[in-house]
């Protein structure tokens, strides 16, 4: 048996194992979302007493999108006297501050606060901006929204209502959708990926293990937890994942509420998308390395599954995809010959079918997404967009190694926004 044969077996086994894991998560996620869709998600608190909520919005050069975001936040159907909006204008060089001043003047009845930082105290990333915003927040519940979000009016209310139901709930996260899905074929891909791999995966993990990872926006968290953990980790590029793991370790769990929806602007150009995803992957690698030790710690509870899952994705999944791509390319070029009998091309076809069906199942739960056009896009995605993930992780791993070797300061690369058509 040649090296190519052994590598092939490894790739096939790993890819199928990971795919079956995702199939299981999809089925669990489907059941959970299906059940959720039977209700509107609302659980009014006893006596209608809503807690004070501080909505934190970190914003660094977000002038292009921020106005729309603040207007959406002002439009929450949450009691107006029970929430404040704190926009952290984080060392922006554009006219973010001016826009915020105009908004505050236009809505004197609202509790809209703008904190502007300079390069001395700010400009070092989202975690730092959140910590600054948190330092002036008055709410017992903290809500986080990215500056490009337009949450639905009921989103905050639903999140808070669900948080109050169980004291063991540390945070409640909502669903996010792609606002600009028709901007380019890339944003169409991102829209499908957001629904299938992010939302469905979260729902599946919640259904089976009561595990969710905070997605960075559209979530509420107890103030007491932020105080206990000492704020967000300023070294983490994926501050959301990082704080999720700390919440788990404190014994809380995190709930997904798909009825609480926010719409956000996703990258519509490849360079912007690539930069954003590398940042996410670097953040996840950091969190994985920081928390992998808990995989073998029984006291860590169900989060062990998450650390294991992350480790599998960034090692087994990555290497198996690289191996399979190399073998595929080598086979075409005639430089690699796999002489292994036993596996048929029907299996390869089945893997593609399962992948497509898996994604389509997710889309079937959304309005206007389960279409023939989507079917074609999913098939195209498999051979284009999905392949980019390998490049993203390889680049992130390389950057992480270089950062560690040369003790480079971790930089927050802000996602570039653009003006959408109304």
């Amino acid at each position: 048996m040649s090296v190519a044969d052994i590598v092939s077996i490894y790739a096939i086994a790993a890819i199928w194992a990971m795919m079956m894991l995702n199939v299981a998560l999809s089925i669990g996620g489907y059941i959970y979302i299906y059940r959720c869709n039977k209700t509107d998600g609302s659980i009014p608190p006893p006596g209608g007493k809503y807690p004070m909520v501080s909505v934190l919005v970190p914003a660094h050069n977000e002038a292009l999108v921020l106005k729309r975001t603040v207007q959406a936040l002002l439009n929450f159907d949450y009691p107006k006297d029970k929430y404040e909006i704190i926009v952290v204008n984080d060392n922006s060089s554009d006219n973010t501050e001016e826009i915020l001043s105009e908004l505050a003047a236009a809505h004197p009845e609202s509790r809209l606060m703008c904190i502007s930082t300079d390069k001395v105290v700010g400009g070092t990333g989202k975690s730092n901006a959140l910590n600054i915003g948190f330092s002036v927040a008055k709410g017992t519940v903290i809500a986080i929204y990215d500056a490009d979000n337009t949450p639905e009016p009921k989103a905050l209310r639903l999140l808070v209502e669900n948080l109050l139901v169980d004291d063991k709930l540390g945070a409640v996260i909502g669903k996010f959708r792609t606002r600009n899905r028709n901007a380019s074929i890339l944003s169409r891909f991102v829209n499908i990926e957001t629904l299938s791999h992010q939302c469905m995966n979260q729902a599946g993990r919640y259904f089976f293990f009561k595990l969710c990872t905070i997605p960075g926006t559209n979530y509420v968290i107890r103030r007491s937890i932020i105080e206990q953990v000492g704020g967000w980790d300023v070294k983490a590029l994926s501050e959301d994942t990082e704080i999720s793991f700390r919440i788990y370790r404190m014994g809380y769990y995190i709930k997904l509420l798909p009825q609480a929806v926010t719409w956000e602007q996703e990258p519509h150009l490849l360079p912007i998308w690539f930069k954003q995803r590398v940042r996410w992957a670097k953040g996840n690698i950091y969190v994985m390395l920081k928390n992998f030790k808990y995989t073998f710690d029984r006291k860590a509870g169900p989060m062990r599954l998450d650390t294991l899952y992350y480790a599998l994705v960034y090692s087994v999944m990555l290497t198996s995809l690289i191996a399979s791509d190399f073998i595929f390319l080598g086979g075409i070029l005639g430089t690699i010959q796999v002489k292994l009998g036993g596996f048929s091309s029907a299996l390869w076809g089945m893997a593609i079918l399962v992948f497509i069906a898996n994604v389509m199942l997710t889309l079937s739960l959304e309005r206007n997404e389960f279409t023939l056009e989507s079917l074609g896009l999913v098939a195209l995605m498999l051979f284009s967009y999905a392949k980019l993930w390998v490049l993203v992780v390889v680049k992130a791993a390389w950057d992480s190694i270089m950062d560690a070797l040369f003790k480079r300061e971790v930089k927050w690369d802000k996602t570039v926004r653009y003006v959408e058509g109304q």
């Binding site: 048996m1 077996i9 199928w16 079956m20 199939v23 089925i27 489907y30 299906y34 869709n37 039977k38 337009t150 639905e152 009016p153 009921k154 959708r177 606002r179 600009n180 899905r181 028709n182 901007a183 929806v261 719409w263 292994l340 009998g341 036993g342 596996f343 048929s344 029907a346 299996l347 089945m350 893997a351 079918l353 399962v354 069906a357 898996n358 389509m360 199942l361 079937s364 739960l365 309005r367 206007n368 389960f370 959408e420 058509g421 109304q422």
Partner: protein, 526 residues
């Protein structure tokens, strides 16, 4: 500042480098070979080329180097050589012997005797022209050989100081080989058959032998050639036992084995080899079969693996058997120099073309023993010249037992010493620092002492070939394949069912809410 000056100086030197005249470079002049072979640019080219190739092979066998030059160009270089072979064997092209005027070195004339009167050699009237004759020659004291030969304008020395053999033709007789002073003459025109080639080796050795005493005779090895482990071990054992009983020294050239050195066929084979090498025999490694182009690194890896595998079975390949073309490959020479003794399976690569292209240089440094294939004078294939170490190769796959035994008997009865490879120093070095040395009766493998003794191996457990493991594995993969396809079908059915459910739910919600939007879609922009 100093750095700047130094940089400027270096830059100036670099810029000036192309201006330095090429003539300033030291040119290395080629070192002349031991012998200059002068020949005619003849019309009957093929026969002439074959003669020259025979000369090249004879000189190589005797480990002399040579240069080849046409007669018309010989005048300019002949003075640089102490030994000249004057090959005048062409019918259509007469060589101008005036280039030899004043030459005082050693001369060996082949073929026509015309124009060599200055050396005391005179063409005989009765041998004028081209015709067939019979040559009779005794390579040793015991057996005299007769052979039909072609003759062209032959002659004889007026006052020979040496003569050997007889050439009879046209009712007259001449010495087949003769000498007078520094000159030597062979009366044959064609040197392409075994008899003539053997004669050529014998007489070149005689011509070059500087002493009055008799020339030494060299050993002749009988080699069971290209023996594979899958050959019948009992047949090999029979041959080995026959030679052991006759107190012969012999060689077994084994094919390299890279894998499965623990298979019963291999261990049984090595059992016979261990018995042979402990009783007068020696094992050498046959060159790997290379169907594609030769690759030095691959060959080195193969030889290493084979040597290690045999040594692990206490079989010690003391030398390497190679085809002659390997000697013309510069990249293989470092590999060959890792061996103290090299057997050449043939000399085909020593054509006159190769000699002209690559030069008849000294391929192997002093200290490496080369053993060339014996020229077959009769059906036994045994050499009678013994002017260099030779090998009589027996092909076990082709030859019947009776033939094998007759050759073995012929070698046994030949009047030459039979020296064992264990009687000489041996050394083999392979990749990864592996070594096998035999020096002063001490055998070292990778520096650890081993002993060349034989003790029968007790019969062990039946060997598990694990032959079906791969097939079982593949069968298992097929099962896994079917299983995964089955799982996929189940998953697809489940997905289909769930998809239908969600569409139903979506439809119900749509009916319930009428045309009211769920709120989110209003954000979708195109």
């Amino acid at each position: 500042m100093r750095c700047n000056r130094l940089a400027a100086l270096l830059l100036a030197l670099l810029l000036a480098a192309p201006l330095i005249p090429a003539g300033a470079e030291e040119t290395e002049l080629p070192v002349p070979g031991d012998v200059l072979v002068v020949y005619a640019e003849e019309a009957d080219r093929k026969a002439g080329e074959d003669n020259l190739s025979a000369i090249a092979q004879a000189l190589f066998s005797l480990r002399y180097t040579a240069d080849f030059v046409e007669a018309q160009d010989a005048g300019a270089v002949i003075g640089q050589y102490e030994r000249v072979i004057w090959c005048d064997t062409a019918v259509s092209d007469r060589m101008d012997a005036s280039v030899l005027t004043g030459y005082e070195g050693m001369l060996l004339a082949l073929g026509q005797a015309r124009g060599l009167e200055a050396f005391g050699l005179t063409a005989r009237e009765e041998f004028s022209g081209s015709f067939m004759g019979v040559a009779e020659y005794a390579f040793d004291d015991e057996v005299s050989f007769r052979h039909s030969v072609s003759v062209l304008n032959a002659g004889a020395f007026d006052e020979p100081s040496y003569q050997s053999g007889v050439l009879a033709a046209s009712g007259g007789q001449l010495p087949l080989a003769s000498g007078s002073g520094n000159a030597h003459y062979l009366a044959l025109q064609d040197y392409t058959d075994s008899f003539s080639r053997e004669l050529l080796v014998q007489e070149i050795a005689q011509w070059l032998w500087p002493y009055d005493v008799r020339m030494p005779t060299y050993t002749q090895h009988v080699v069971l050639d290209a023996v594979y482990p899958f050959y019948d071990p009992y047949r090999l054992q029979t041959l080995v036992e026959y030679m052991v009983e006759n107190r012969m020294h012999f060689v077994i050239s084994v094919m390299p084995i890279y894998d499965h050195a623990d298979y019963p066929a291999m261990t049984q084979f090595c059992e016979v080899l261990r018995y042979a090498q402990a009783n007068g025999g020696a094992v050498i490694l046959h060159a790997p079969n290379t169907q594609n182009s030769l690759d030095a690194e691959a060959l080195s890896r193969q030889l290493t693996a084979a040597t290690v595998n045999y040594c692990s079975q206490n079989v010690y390949p003391l030398a390497l058997e190679i085809p002659s073309e390997w000697l013309f490959r510069e990249d293989l020479l470092p590999l060959l120099r890792r061996y103290k003794t090299l057997f050449l399976s043939e000399l085909d690569a020593f054509s006159v073309h190769a000699a002209k292209e690559y030069g008849m240089k000294d391929y192997l440094p002093t200290g490496i023993q080369q053993i060339v294939p014996a020229l077959k004078l009769d059906e036994t294939g045994v050499s009678h010249a013994a002017r260099c170490a030779t090998a009589v190769y027996l092909d076990m796959s082709m030859t019947e037992d009776a033939q094998l035994f007759s050759v073995i008997d012929a070698v046994k009865d030949a009047p030459f010493p039979m020296q064992s490879l264990w009687g000489m120093e041996q050394a083999v070095y392979t990749d990864e620092g592996h070594s096998l040395t035999w020096d002063q009766n001490t055998l070292l493998v990778d520096g650890a002492q081993r002993f060349n003794v034989y003790s029968p191996t007790p019969e062990g457990e039946p060997f598990d070939y694990k032959r079906n493991e791969y097939y079982r594995f593949v069968a298992n993969l097929k099962n896994q394949n079917q299983f995964l396809i089955g799982i996929s079908i189940v998953v697809l059915v489940i997905f289909l069912f769930l998809g239908a459910q969600s569409r139903r739910q979506m439809h119900r919600r749509f009916l319930k809410r009428g045309s009211q939007s769920t709120g989110g879609d209003q954000h979708v922009s195109s």
